[in-house]
Amino acid sequence: MRVKVLFFGATADEAGTNEAEIELNRPSTSESAFEAILAKFPALTTNRKPEDLLFAVNQEYVAGGESIAEDDVLAVFTAVSGG
């Protein structure tokens, strides 16, 4: 199944894009989807550890274990720095 992945700030620079589509196995969980994104965009973890990244599904932070469905919108970004 295909899902959309969004990148912002540092992750957009590293992925070379703000937005991509990736193919995931069915079923996929938030963990396996996150791993698939890191595998496809290795630059995201060149200079940082995976645990320094945040991951959202349909504009909500993942808690872990969520099922991913076709057409879900995923997003990978660094710890926020607004304010």
């Binding site: 550890k49 995976p50 645990e51 320094d52 970004f77 720095s81 607004g82």
Partner: protein, 146 residues
Amino acid sequence: MNFEITNEPLDVGEIARRVVPEECGATVTLDGYVRRFTKGRETKHLVYEAYEPMALKEMEKLADAAKEKFEISSVGIVHRLGKLEIGETSVVIAVSAPHRRAAFEACEWLIKELKRTVPIWKKEVYADGEVWVEGERDGNAGVPPA
């Protein structure tokens, strides 16, 4: 509107005045703006970027949580995006309450939480380079900060 993300300059007083119910007697406002020097290094300007729809949802969640936690009446949160010069306001949080103590506490809590959970990022632009600032992280991969 109480939650907003905009590329336009912010009018702090106007934002604070959006939250004045009749049962209230005080509004506490945090105006966060671009500082020229951070740890001795000179900033030329900042650039802010957001995951806008998610950021608005997270702001609303924060305001709801603050209303549960403190005796307050209204919350307004506005964050600016794009290029900001020194001294320009990046964020305004205004909290009104019947009594000022709760307004102070809630406003301070809200800015701390906003910096932790609302998906907005800051790029510091120096004379000799630029860097996307990353917040503090101590959680599991992908999972939001505790």
